[in-house]
């Protein structure tokens, strides 16, 4: 019970302090809107193409929302030493880090629904397979959050967290099949695409929104789950090695 009191209060504090702040909420709204608008203008597409754009915009909203928020907040707390306060708490380390990342995961999931709500006004969402879409959104949010944690552990300054995040994020836009099919990438880049978790998440989203998945949904979700676990374990090891050294 006492562990869950700690878990819940860490999550609650982060939600209040970081994720529910008006600038972050507006960022969560504007970001997907800007991406959607940009692709429409660039491609000169009609409303019918929203279904093909939607998975990419959803994935990108989650990726940018979670990695930005978590890498910055954790680096900020490490810098002002308040993260030390958490490390002194008598709760299992894994649970502590799950509590710390849960806020960003929820923020990512909420971000995913901004483009969905916008799309609901422009297209018929009834063909959308929610039982595939929701697990994909959650797993992308988890994997992106743990990627943000990995970034936070790798840097020491807040500005480094942002620049280092972009090092991973921008290539993922092109490599993970969000807007451009992986088949159209040069052969030498394809292995890199399949080494990134977002490729599998985006594939599920394409399948759930317009039935255009390349790999079986179940294997996509399985690989995503494995990536989440791997990134979490790797981040914890790095925190132990670097911050409890």
């Amino acid at each position: 019970m006492r562990y869950w009191i700690a878990f819940w209060n860490i999550l609650l504090k982060d939600m209040r302090t970081y994720y529910l702040k008006p600038p972050n909420i507006s960022w969560g709204l504007i970001f997907p809107l800007a991406w959607t608008g940009m692709f429409f203008v660039k491609s000169g597409a009609e409303l019918g193409s929203i279904a093909t754009l939607l998975p990419g915009v959803v994935a990108i909203s989650i990726l940018f929302g979670t990695t930005s928020m978590l890498s910055v907040t954790v680096t900020f707390e490490k810098k002002n030493r308040s993260f030390e306060r958490l490390l002194l708490a008598p709760i299992p380390f894994e649970l502590l880090m799950l509590a710390k990342t849960s806020g960003a995961i929820l923020f990512g999931v909420a971000n995913a629904f901004v483009p969905i709500i916008m799309a609901a006004f422009l297209m018929d969402l009834s063909p959308l397979v929610w039982v595939e879409f929701i697990p994909a959104v959650v797993l992308i949010a988890i994997a992106s959050t743990f990627l943000g944690l990995f970034i936070a552990v790798s840097v020491s300054e807040v500005f480094e967290a942002q620049t280092f995040s972009n090092f991973f994020r921008f290539p993922m836009i092109f490599l993970c099949g969000l807007f451009f099919p992986i088949e159209k990438l040069p052969v030498f880049l394809k292995p890199l695409s399949y080494a990134l978790p977002l490729t599998y998440g985006a594939d599920v989203l394409h399948g759930a929104v317009h039935g255009a998945n390349v790999m079986p949904i179940s294997s996509d979700l399985l690989v995503m789950g494995a990536f989440c676990l791997g990134l979490f374990v790797l981040s914890l090891q790095m925190i132990r090695r670097r911050w409890i050294a």
């Binding site: 019970m1 006492r2 562990y3 009191i5 700690a6 819940w8 209060n9 860490i10 504090k13 302090t17 002002n80 030493r81 308040s82 030390e84 306060r85 958490l86 490390l87 002194l88 708490a89 008598p90 709760i91 380390f93 409890i244 050294a245």
Partner: protein, 327 residues
């Protein structure tokens, strides 16, 4: 909690950063209910030791037992028993004082009603009730320090680690904090205090360990440390002009006395016998040195520290001034 003779037991503890041994094979024990002081200059290894004892750093070798729990392999195993007040505040600047305390209490699994009432109680005890709903980031240094201590004891830990509690705060706040530390000690809390304020350690601690360059030079009670020099007679003379060139003359004219001259015109005179200041003053004035003040000094822990470690207490004082400290 088990009632053990040594609530903290440390053996051969070592921690190295690159080529520097921050803590070099230290061994000591802290008795239950004791106020144990860790005294040394900056960079002596005080904070590294606290970090290892509280689970924020892993020792390279050696062992740590806290309340009979072996923390060597699992540094976080005894965290429920300890409260930690670091040398710099580690609370959340964007939360209010009240919310900070409630949040810290929640980390120890304390339920809402209890943590709110404990937070109010501590805010009252530390004189921060008026500032309870102000953001912590806007607090003064002294208020921040007090709230950080309050956060360290929110879960009523049997062991409290205080790292330089009065550094960088004003005289009144430092005095108030020392009183609070004394009260906690009297209430039975075991306190591990690091400081580079010698007078603070002398005033508060039951036993003191002198640590220099990662090594413990001496551990003893304040009484035992000071006892050998209690019989010494010390006089300090403040003079107007440069005195460094008369050391030889002084020593040859007063062979029974020991002189230490500093560049700022202060002569420290030590002897096993009572010192007559009249002949000294006359001698100095005959040699063109005007004496502004002569006062008898009671030998203190500072003298013991200088004697044992070879470090000048003045150097430690300068360090605390650099940190913005006051006493």
């Amino acid at each position: 909690m088990n009632q053990v003779a040594h609530i903290i037991e440390v053996a051969d503890l070592t921690k190295q950063f690159d080529d520097i041994k921050a803590v070099n094979s230290i061994t000591f024990g802290v008795h239950t209910g004791e106020l144990f002081g860790f005294l040394g200059p900056n960079g002596a290894g005080k904070t590294t030791t606290i970090n290892m004892l509280t689970g924020l750093a892993r020792p390279d070798s050696g062992s740590i037992r806290i309340s009979d729990i072996d923390c060597t392999e699992n540094p976080r195993a005894a965290q429920h028993l300890v409260g930690v007040v670091p040398d710099e505040s580690n609370l959340y600047p964007e939360l209010t004082g009240f919310d900070n305390l409630c949040f810290c209490a929640s980390l120890y699994g304390i339920k809402k009603k209890e943590r709110e009432s404990r937070a109010r109680e501590l805010l009252d005890m530390f004189g921060l009730t008026q500032a309870a709903n102000r953001r912590f980031g806007g607090y003064s240094k002294g208020m921040k320090r007090k709230l950080t201590i309050a956060a360290g004891i929110i879960h009523k830990p049997p062991i409290l680690f205080l790292d330089e509690p009065t550094t960088g705060i004003d005289v009144a706040s430092a005095r108030q904090l020392r009183q609070l530390v004394d009260d906690l000690h009297r209430s039975g809390t075991t306190i591990f205090l690091t400081t580079h304020y010698i007078e603070e350690a002398e005033r508060l601690c039951d036993r003191i360990a002198f640590i220099v360059s990662g090594r413990i030079i001496r551990i003893d009670t304040v009484e035992n440390l000071v006892q050998p020099i209690r019989a010494k007679h010390v006089v300090q003379l403040a003079c107007t002009n440069s005195i460094l060139d008369i050391q030889g003359k002084l020593s040859s004219s007063f062979p029974e006395l020991h002189f230490a001259l500093s560049g700022n015109g202060v002569i420290r005179v030590e002897s096993d016998q009572p010192i007559g200041v009249g002949p000294l003053i006359r001698f100095l004035e005959d040699n063109g040195t005007e004496v502004l003040e002569a006062r008898r000094i009671r030998p203190s822990l500072e003298d013991v520290f200088v004697r044992i470690t070879g470090l000048e207490a003045e150097a430690m004082r300068k360090e605390k001034e650099k940190k913005g400290g006051g006493q």
